[in-house]
């Protein structure tokens, strides 16, 4: 029961803290005092109470899209293991539903951006669609390799390889963590892929897609993207240690304060690096399975 409550708290309240911690870390590196780590929650409440300005070009798509996207992220949260490697829903192939339901949310956020008829938002949609195209294959290669290693075809496979880890197992886990961490940066639109604090529309990816959203819709969008980062962090946290939940926002904050964002032309390199790492995971899995005929896992 306690676990259940904790899971709900983690999924629904922790996203605010997650962003709060990132901002606080950035403030620390910038030598500033920084806002309270609860600031994102206050922002959410404030936005949710506001009215909206809606572009006269838009249609019903613009109205429903933020809610669809937010629902898809909550649903993805139900499928992901949150605490003690337990999730609300788990079955064989759950990570496929997870990825596809997130894609449904993305589909609607893309067409919602196209709905405004703005060249900036079209540009953002084009970038988001283009860059995220190659993210999913890397994710699937990683999870499928681990699944092959553990013989379990759900998210649970991520933890089963822990039961009997050799040196190769540790390497596979670390590289998978790297893939998922890079995924957080791409999907969460953080530096070096995208800068959430940029003020120039021409250089934005995610932010420029939601230029015309305001009020409750914007609140849902911000909350949703924070929740998405928590969900991906949950994958890493359950593979390594629960403390990672606090560590990842600090790492992201540090990264944002120390690394400059990449040029657009180099972003494909970043995403290809991610695909390459996932292929290394696959190669290591093959070595683990076939050089050692007994297998790492019985």
């Amino acid at each position: 029961m306690l676990e259940f409550v904790l899971m709900i708290v983690l999924l629904f309240l922790f996203p605010f803290l997650f962003v709060g911690i990132i901002n606080r870390t950035k403030a620390f590196w910038g030598g500033r005092q920084g806002a309270s780590i609860f600031q994102p929650l206050y922002d959410f409440i404030k936005l949710f109470k506001k009215g909206e300005v809606i572009s006269s070009t838009t249609s019903f798509i613009f109205n429903i899209a933020p809610s669809v996207t937010f629902t898809s992220i909550i649903f993805a949260g139900l499928l992901v293991p949150l605490i003690n490697q337990k999730s609300f829903l788990s079955f064989e192939g759950d990570f496929i539903l997870f990825a596809y339901i997130l894609a449904l949310g993305k589909f609607f956020s893309l067409i919602s951006a196209m709905d405004t008829g703005s060249s900036f938002e079209g540009m953002g949609a084009s970038r988001e669609a283009g860059f995220s195209t190659l993210v999913e294959p890397a994710f699937f290669i990683t999870i499928a390799s681990i699944a092959a290693l553990s013989g379990n075809y759900s998210f649970q496979s991520l933890f089963l390889i822990f039961n009997n880890t050799g040196e190769l197992g540790i390497l596979i886990i670390l590289l998978s963590v790297l893939v998922i961490f890079m995924m957080i940066l791409v999907e969460g639109c953080r530096v070096p892929v995208d800068d959430p604090n940029t003020h120039l529309e021409l250089t934005m990816i995610h932010e420029v897609m939601v230029l015309d959203n305001s009020g409750p819709d914007l609140a849902l969008i911000n909350y949703g993207s924070a929740m998405k980062m928590v969900i991906f962090s949950a994958l890493i946290a359950n593979m390594l240690h629960p403390a990672v939940f606090l560590l990842i926002p600090i790492i992201i904050g540090t990264l944002e304060s120390t690394v400059a964002r990449f040029r657009f032309s180099r972003l494909f390199e970043f995403i290809f690096l991610m695909c390459s790492v996932s292929l290394v995971v696959l190669a290591l899995t093959m070595i683990a399975l076939y050089e050692n005929p007994v297998g790492l896992i019985k």
Binding site: K49, S59, F107, M114, P137, P216
Partner: protein, 582 residues
């Protein structure tokens, strides 16, 4: 489940058999044909007083439908080739409906020739089979299919189905044909190619690993190239035609996985693969016909297929736009619609394949999983582009701006039926998959179907999560709307970064939307200018053929006396030959 009818004829007994596989195809063909004909009543209206022979158009439409039905039941190779030819010819006449346009005619002739190349391969394959089995009856072929006749038949049927690199006719013929015909052709006619491949497989009790890998590889390539080229298209119907190639690839992946399951004696993988592939046949028929009908509705109102000239149609054509959106979500394979279910089954087949302890299986299946994921995300890019540019934003041209109202009900109703089918299959997959076991029983031993039970439970969970998703969305959307009540909500121009005189030409276009992703392929090959398979594979072959044939130009002099001489010479040789052999 078999009923047969014997027709004594010139070529022996022709068996007409309806087995579970034929029954499945008959079901799809019947539903889709009825919807297509209802839709055509509305679509054909603008052509009624334009000196067009509507009578012959419908005559060929009926012939096409009957010949498709016959293709699925005729169980004799020679009779099969006759009805197959009938199907190709009738669809050729349907494609050249607007034959006064030059590009329509050339697309039609391209289609006609390609189909005859396909028949050539089929004839060769069937002759090889019948020479070993001693009969043209399909039942006698069982166990005689070795690798070479299989490859011949696969190429023959693959040309019809549109597997890469035999797909080049598809992106030409579909845009040229009227929309109800493109819907029928893409929805069901190209599936007769898949039917042929499945029928051939049913004669192979234990497929060899080589051909199973061959089918899987060619399918993965088809899926990837189909969607890649679709992204670069600006012609709405051409875009959909390339998506047919992609979906044929996904169907082929299911079949390939099923074959690998049989080859490795793993029935679970075989069941999952075949059921995913066969379900995708139905699913693709539903959403592709829906999309072609919606594209036809857009063409009907705007008279252009160039998406760069469209935009903002969601306001003038709300029903069509909602239906196109349903089709787009379904074809992208997103839950809770039907496309997800078949892709999910294929994924499950691939995942279970990882349990076969074999390094080549591991690498092939993991790469296939990644390829399927890539195809899904690329399809998302393509359909957000198509939907966003055609229906959203503001009109990019006069033609789109002048549209006042939606198409008539008679065109909307068939689309609405198709759209509701995508929801029914997507939300209640467990019942559909249970029924699907009937056609799958042609390939896999029915005793092993009990292994599917846990997957039915999983599908029930998927079904519940689909319903849950819709309810949760209702809740969140309701909450958001509730919060906005009594608040100031007003309309304003789209934010233009301080610039106020925004006009329709400042919108993002389809080319710019796709450019970022396509730019990545630039170092390898250009996606924007034509098909690389056509340039590097099909055209050189055609050029070579032309060269060879040119050597024989002197035979064709146009002089009647000379032709009679040829006949005479042939007769003399024939007489000498028969006398000599006796």
């Amino acid at each position: 489940m078999k009923s047969s009818l014997h027709i004594p004829g010139l070529i022996g007994n022709i068996n007409l058999v309806i087995d579970p596989l034929s029954a499945f195809f008959i079901l799809i063909i019947s539903i889709m044909s009825v919807l297509g004909i209802v839709y055509s009543i509305g679509y054909i209206k603008p052509y009624l007083n334009k000196n067009k022979s509507i009578f012959s158009h419908y005559l060929f439409l009926i012939i096409l439908i009957i010949s498709m039905l016959l293709v699925t039941v005729v169980q004799n190779a020679l009779a099969f080739l006759i009805v197959w030819e009938l199907m190709s010819l009738s669809s050729f006449f349907l494609v050249i409906f607007e034959s006064e346009k030059k590009e329509v005619l050339s697309a039609g002739i391209n289609y006609l020739i390609t189909m005859h190349v396909s028949v050539l391969f089929l004839i060769a394959g069937f002759i090889m089979l019948s020479s070993t089995s001693g009969s043209y009856d399909f039942a006698s072929f069982e166990g005689h299919v070795t690798n070479i006749p299989f490859i011949l038949l696969f190429i023959g049927f693959g040309i019809k189905a549109g597997f890469v690199p035999f797909h080049t006719w598809l992106p030409k013929a579909h845009p040229a044909a009227p929309s109800h015909v493109s819907g029928l052709m893409s929805g069901i006619m190209i599936k007769t190619g898949i039917y042929g491949i499945l029928r051939t497989l049913s004669w192979i009790p234990n497929p060899s690993k080589d051909i199973a890998y061959f089918v899987l590889a060619i399918s993965v390539i088809s899926a990837l190239f189909g969607v890649l080229y679709a992204i670069a298209q600006h012609d709405l119907k051409k875009l959909l035609a390339y998506h047919s190639i992609e979906n044929i690839g996904i169907i082929g992946m299911g079949i390939g996985i099923g074959m690998l399951g049989l080859a490795y004696d793993n029935d679970l993988i075989a069941i999952l693969g075949f059921s995913g592939g066969i379900l995708h046949i139905l699913n693709h028929a539903i959403f592709k016909q829906l999309l072609f009908f919606a594209a036809g509705a857009v063409y009907n109102k705007t008279h252009t297929r160039n998406i760069e000239k469209l935009g903002g149609l969601v306001k003038s054509m709300p029903a069509t736009s909602a239906l196109f959106l349903t089709g787009s979500v379904a074809i992208t394979g997103l839950p809770p619609l039907n496309g997800f279910i078949s892709e999910f089954l294929i994924y499950l087949g691939l995942l279970n394949g990882l349990s076969i302890k074999n390094s080549s299986i591991l690498i092939v299946f993991v790469i296939s999983i990644a390829a399927l994921a890539l195809v899904g995300t690329m399809a998302m890019l393509c359909f957000t582009k198509a939907y966003g540019v055609v229906f959203l934003g503001v009109p990019r041209g006069q033609k789109a701006a002048l549209v006042k109202n939606d198409v008539t009900k008679i065109m909307l109703i068939p689309m609405a039926v198709l759209a509701s089918l995508t929801f029914i299959i997507g939300l209640f997959p467990q019942y559909v998959v249970k029924l699907l076991m009937i056609p799958v029983s042609v390939f896999v031993n029915t005793e092993t179907f009990i292994m599917m039970d846990p997957y039915i439970t999983i599908l029930r969970t998927v079904s519940l999560s689909g319903l849950g998703f819709i309810m949760l969305f209702g809740l969140i959307y309701g909450l958001r709307t509730l919060m906005l009540r009594n608040k100031r909500v007003y309309n304003h121009n789209t934010w233009g970064c301080g610039y106020h005189a925004i006009n329709n030409r400042m919108q993002y276009t389809a080319s710019s939307y796709a450019d970022l992703f396509l730019s990545f392929f630039k170092p390898f090959f250009s996606v924007n200018y034509g098909d690389i398979f056509e340039y590097y594979l099909i055209n050189p072959v055609l050029k070579f053929n032309k060269k060879v044939i040119e050597c024989f130009y002197w035979i064709q002099s146009g002089n009647t006396q000379q032709y009679i001489l040829y006949g005479l010479i042939f007769l003399i040789f024939a007489i000498i030959y028969t006398v000599g052999t006796k």
